[in-house]
Amino acid sequence: MASLRYEIRISASADAVWDIVKDPVSLPNWFPGIVAAVVEGSIRTVTLNTGVTMPEELLTIDSLQRRIAYRITAPAYHSHLGTIDVIDLGERDSLCVYSTTAEPDVLALLVGGATAGALDSIKHLAEG
């Protein structure tokens, strides 16, 4: 089991950052390599740039804590937990943290590495 965490400081309010990430179908706007996201109930299916589709289970979308938790349920993953936290640091100052815990370890790095790019996109969108 491997666990990785990436974070980015954003010059925008936590509410503004949360508005970008909270919608579970918004991934194509800010997650590099994801071209589509469809949600039915608690199941989200994302389509990657490579044409691969990946099923996920949405566990938490908590606007009070500004926290998202989900898990990838594709067979290649023995286990997975992804979380996004948006932390209020001030009027126009926030921290966005994207964590990935998964087995096999290599898949944690592959997904976790992509979340680093997602944080860059979120920052770009939030800061205009």
């Binding site: 491997a2 490579t50 370890d105 290599v106 790095l109 992509a114 680093a116």
Partner: protein, 525 residues
């Protein structure tokens, strides 16, 4: 002279002593040997890193990893990093890279990286930002066609195999296992890791494909006009699965064991125990510090017969490369360019191939991984005087060398000077030492190594990390100990030498250079 055409030939993970002109006795390499006899053969060429991505980035940028920012495998080189291909493109050169690039990660399920994306789209290049603020062809290459060590993934060779020869796919070794780790599964006659008997016909193997596609690109060039072609063979990097039809070239049972393979386990362990602690930890299977060796393989289990079989297959792959290179050179002659082409041949890093009882590579800075083949055969029209250069040189000199060959201005971002053409030239221009860097941080294990090669010494410092506390090092006196078996780091009689070498490494760390922000680790490789 406006410039000369440049054929830059690289292999992957090839030791210095695998080639005939360098003293190799197993593989027959007449093409390489002829180039060496006609040009400049370097006896002490060192990479800036002993793994693929940082080393290849150093060839392209002329910078050390701590400058260009691609500090370990899995960290992409910034798309707007300096590039000698862009520099030559500006000088009017047509530019191509055919074969293994690996400036960006291979494992890329999201399809985020340009190398994978343009291969998937089947287009020759994409527009990308350049280091000077302009936009242009990707990293300065007009034409890109990629291959790697097998038939998985989105790259051009794998796609070609899947489309044209799907019946041959299953013969290739699966380089990764079900958990996407480097595969430890054994094969061949000795059950050696990363070995397979591959029934693929020779003409479909990636070595032939790289030569075929290079010739096709050269055939597309007009008669007049300069070009820079980086022909990059994925072999002899593991897996060792050359076409089965070629295995009989080298009978593995007759391959001598390497001089640096201690026959008895106790002797191997005695030698390894003199080195920094991560050597023994890897040998015993307790730690794999990175993705460069199979996580589930224990080096202590390596047998003498496995070493023989791996080295035989390595030699087969080296011979196929040599013959493919010969085919490309004949195509160049046929175009009438034979007098006008500079050929530079090297690799990105070495391979243990049984030294100390080890295979593969990692943070182990000894000749097996550090000493590389390098030959520069200048265009025959320049009437070069053949020479053998014993002074230390580095792959960071390649970019400046290519600019010089092209008659282009010297790039102001390279850290290397053009290669010396003989030892007098080397002495005059201060080629006295080279540095190799290693940094890795993966799944809770980080290792940081700096090594300096001078004419007399090979000196390594281990910086603090999870494996080392900053007190360990290695010091080898090359004249007395060419196999680097006697670590004299704590030898009081060499304390002054050690201080001087430390100061030189410190100067490297503190050098005044504009450094890129270190890239993020986003993939295993």
């Amino acid at each position: 002279m406006v410039g000369r055409k440049i054929l830059f030939v690289t292999t992957d993970q090839q030791r210095y002593d695998t080639l005939g002109a360098n003293g190799g006795l197993i593989a027959r390499t007449p093409t390489f040997d002829r180039l060496a006899a006609e040009g400049y053969r370097y006896e002490r060429c060192q990479p800036a890193s002993v793994v693929c991505m940082p080393s290849r980035a150093s060839m392209l940028t002329g910078q050390f990893p701590s400058t260009h920012g691609a500090w370990m495998n899995g960290v992409p080189l910034a798309v707007d990093a300096p590039s000698i291909a862009a520099h030559l493109h500006d000088a009017g050169y047509a530019t191509a890279l055919i074969g293994k690039a690996h400036f960006e990660p291979f494992l890329d399920p999201f399809g985020r990286f340009s190398e994978n994306a343009l291969a998937a789209l089947g287009i020759p290049t994409v527009e990308s930002p350049w280091f000077d603020g302009r936009r242009g062809v990707h990293r300065g290459f007009d034409h890109l066609e990629f291959a790697t060590h097998g038939v998985l993934g989105p790259l051009h060779y794998a796609r070609w195999m899947r489309e044209r020869h799907p019946e041959a796919l299953s013969g290739f070794y699966n380089v990764v296992d079900h958990d996407l780790n480097v595969n430890a599964e054994g094969g061949g006659d000795t059950n050696a890791p990363q070995v397979a008997i591959n029934p693929v016909p020779r003409e479909w193997y990636h070595t032939e494909w790289v030569a075929d596609r290079t010739i096709a690109w050269l055939d597309s060039r007009p008669e007049v006009g300069d070009w820079f072609c980086w022909m990059s063979f994925p072999d002899p990097h593991h897996p060792w699965d050359p076409p089965a039809s070629e295995r009989s070239r080298v009978a593995w049972r007759e391959v001598p064991l390497p001089e640096n393979y201690p026959r008895r386990a106790a002797e191997r362990e005695r030698v390894i125990d003199q080195k920094a602690r991560h050597w023994r930890a890897w040998y015993d299977g307790r730690v794999v510090s990175n993705y460069e060796a199979p996580a589930k393989w224990v080096p202590a289990t390596l047998t003498a017969d496995q070493v023989r079989e791996v080295n035989a297959l390595n030699a087969v792959e080296v011979e196929l490369i040599d013959e493919a290179l010969g085919r490309v050179l004949r195509a160049i002659e046929a175009r009438g360019w034979g007098e006008d082409v500079d050929v530079v041949f090297t690799t990105d890093h070495g391979e243990f191939q049984g030294d100390y009882g080890l295979l593969f590579k990692g943070p182990y800075h000894v000749d097996a991984l550090l000493r590389l083949p390098l030959v520069w055969r200048p265009a025959r029209s320049t009437l070069p005087t053949a020479s053998v250069i014993s002074a230390p040189v580095s792959l960071v000199s390649l970019a400046a060398t290519f600019a010089q060959i092209a008659g282009a201005p010297a790039p102001n971002w390279t850290e290397g000077s053009p290669l010396p053409v003989n030892d007098d030239d080397a002495s005059r221009r201060g080629f006295a030492r080279t540095v190799t860097e290693w940094d890795s941080a993966l799944f809770g294990v980080d290792v940081h190594v700096r090594t300096l090669l001078s004419g007399e010494y090979l000196y390594t410092e281990y910086q603090p990390g999870t494996m080392h506390d900053g007190s360990e090092g290695e010091l080898y006196v090359l004249a007395d100990d060419p196999l680097q078996r006697i670590n004299r780091y704590t030898d009081p009689s060499l304390s002054a030498v050690r201080v001087a070498l430390h100061d030189e490494l410190r100067a490297h760390e503190l050098r005044d250079v504009r450094r890129a922000v270190p890239g993020r680790l986003v993939a295993p490789v």
